[in-house]
Amino acid sequence: MIETIAQVQMPVDEKLSIRRQRLRADAKKDSGNRICIVTGIHGDELEGQYVCYETGRRILENPHYLTGTVDIYPALNPFGIDSVTRGIPAFDLDMNRIFPGRKDGDMNEYLAAEILHDMEGAGLCLDIHASNIYLTEIPQIRINELFKETLLPYAKLSNVDFIWVHGASTVLESTFAHSLNSRGVPTLVVEMGVGMRITKEYGDQLVDGIFSLMKEQGIWSGPVDRVRTPVVSERADDVCFLNAPVSGVFLKQKSHNSMVKKGECIGVIINPLTLEPACEIRAPESGLLFTIREYPIVDEGSLMGRIICNAPVVSSFL
């Protein structure tokens, strides 16, 4: 059943609506548990579109296994998705910095407040992002250390390749996930693939994880695939960042999800105008290259990749 959870009138003959698809078990089988699958806060991140569809499709294929409620929110920022815009068009505002919102606030604050209100009481929520248009990521879950104890067990069931527990930051308090976690709804932030594209393989992997979580939550009684064991990074120095030392055109030589050795060449930065010798980008440490730059133009400082270097599971690979 499609329901509108918030709506505002636009100036010229249009309503902006936030809608969800609710798939609910028959009353006799309903455990009362609920999971929310959320995406589209950033309008140019589309990986979650396929995940929403495929999750719903599999449920509708075998509805008799459904023993709870699955709420699918494919577009929290419909204008952003329509206009290939990360933020909220017309406001130049990152929607993931306006939570928890205010019911008596402006249009965006109101929508944020209504979205959170609608999800309160759910047993679990997944907020699916797609890196951005510049970087490709392996399927991963990012956890604010403040919520580590609650979220890590769920993240391990999600069938992702990597779990990154990162430090708390005041500025992140205005994110959707932080706000919902603070209200007692465990919320996992998924990052995978690349902006403006859909990586079906990653989508299928995450959907398998969602069914595993649904089973754990008592929302799904059907068979589920065994989930993979993720690399877990909990220390700040587990992750090395590769930032461009010069501006230019980055040509990657390694794909994401590659194991790299210290000193190995990951890519080069070339300058098609000056024809200077290419600047080689070498791995500062051995480890798993979990992020690689897709968009070739780099300014000095642009992020080109990230390596998990010290996590225990990675060490065993090397």
Binding site: Q9, P11, M107, V171, G248, S302
Partner: protein
């Protein structure tokens, strides 16, 4: 006046990215003024250019106090200004959400770091700031609540000193980080952002010179300005639009309005019918107004300083 390049990055096909600073006087780091941080802050850059002219003249006349150094950085983001883009050209990040910066980080973190290293040791910091919502303001100086230098904020002689609460996203702004590094930081808001408003730019420059004179950085005899009224931003009254449509505004920023006075009408965009009117609920001064042709519903169209609101001090 000494010109210096505060920070520089080499680009692929564009001229080098340069942040320039102008130093007046020499000695202890007394005051730093920063103009535009975003590509649409034309008014903030314009105000800085007027200030540079004034300080240059004062220096030539020997009226900068001995042992005092003043640094002006008119523009921290020439790249975005030149392509008329509000945020950073390639990745749309906001330099004013990157402070204190990080020298090994991403581009705008490096820019923030490169600037902040040069300005963090000043006793006073002033930013010509713009608001996150499109609109026009009554000129004022803004400081974060619970700072102990409200009296010094009054030295600008602007009509209002506005105290505001710190929100999570403030923690990465220049103003916030200046305070963390023990610089007394002020944000000066003039009427406009993208368009040049000569009157309020001139008022802002006069305000900075007043402050500098009172802090004995310069010898200057200008317009004393106002006896500032201190207002807590949380006690300003916000009037929101009930409907979406054309926004027909009937007042100006800074205007004194009476209870029941028509402030704006929202019109149906196809047939021009009046959908709703916004009336002043009390006698007040218009501190902020929405100034775009159209409005959404629930938009903060006006912020009013109530005539009867208690003074903070």
């Amino acid at each position: 006046m000494k010109e210096q390049t505060v920070f520089e990055i080499k680009a692929l096909y564009r001229d080098d990215f340069r942040v320039k600073g102008y130093t007046f006087g020499s000695g202890e780091k007394s005051l730093c003024i920063v103009g535009s941080l975003r590509g649409n802050e034309n008014q903030q850059l314009y105000a800085c250019s007027l200030l540079v002219q004034k300080l240059k003249k004062l220096e030539e006349e020997g009226r900068i106090a001995g042992g005092k150094e003043i640094l002006v950085i008119p523009c921290a983001n020439p790249y975005s200004m030149n392509i008329k883009k509000r945020f950073w050209s390639i990745d749309n990040t906001d330099i004013n959400r990157m402070f204190p910066g990080y020298s090994e980080g991403e581009t705008t973190q490096r820019i923030a770091d490169g600037i902040f290293k040069n300005i963090k040791d000043y006793e006073y910091g002033i930013q010509f700031a713009s608001f996150y919502m499109p609109g026009a303001f009554v000129p004022h100086v803004r400081i974060m609540k619970f700072m102990d230098y409200v009296e010094q904020a009054k030295e600008f002689g602007l009509p209002y000193v506005i105290l505001h609460d710190v929100r999570p996203f403030d923690t990465t702004t220049l103003n916030y980080n200046w305070q963390v590094w023990e610089t007394k930081a002020f944000s000066i808001y003039t009427t406009s952002t993208e368009t040049i408003d000569k009157k309020s730019a001139g008022q802002a420059v006069e305000a900075v010179l007043n402050f500098m004179e009172k802090e004995k950085m310069i010898r200057y005899c200008g317009d004393e300005g106002y006896h500032s009224r201190v207002v807590d931003s949380s006690r300003m009254l916000t009037l929101r639009t009930k409907d979406a449509g054309f926004f027909e505004c009937h007042v100006q920023p800074g205007e004194r309005v009476e209870k029941g006075q028509l402030l704006a009408r929202v019109l149906q965009p196809y047939d021009g019918a009046c959908l709703s009117e916004l009336l002043a609920p009390e006698d007040a001064v218009v501190a902020f107004l929405h100034n775009e042709a159209m409005t959404y519903a629930d938009t903060a169209a006006f912020k009013l300083i109530m005539e009867r609101a208690d003074e903070i001090r």
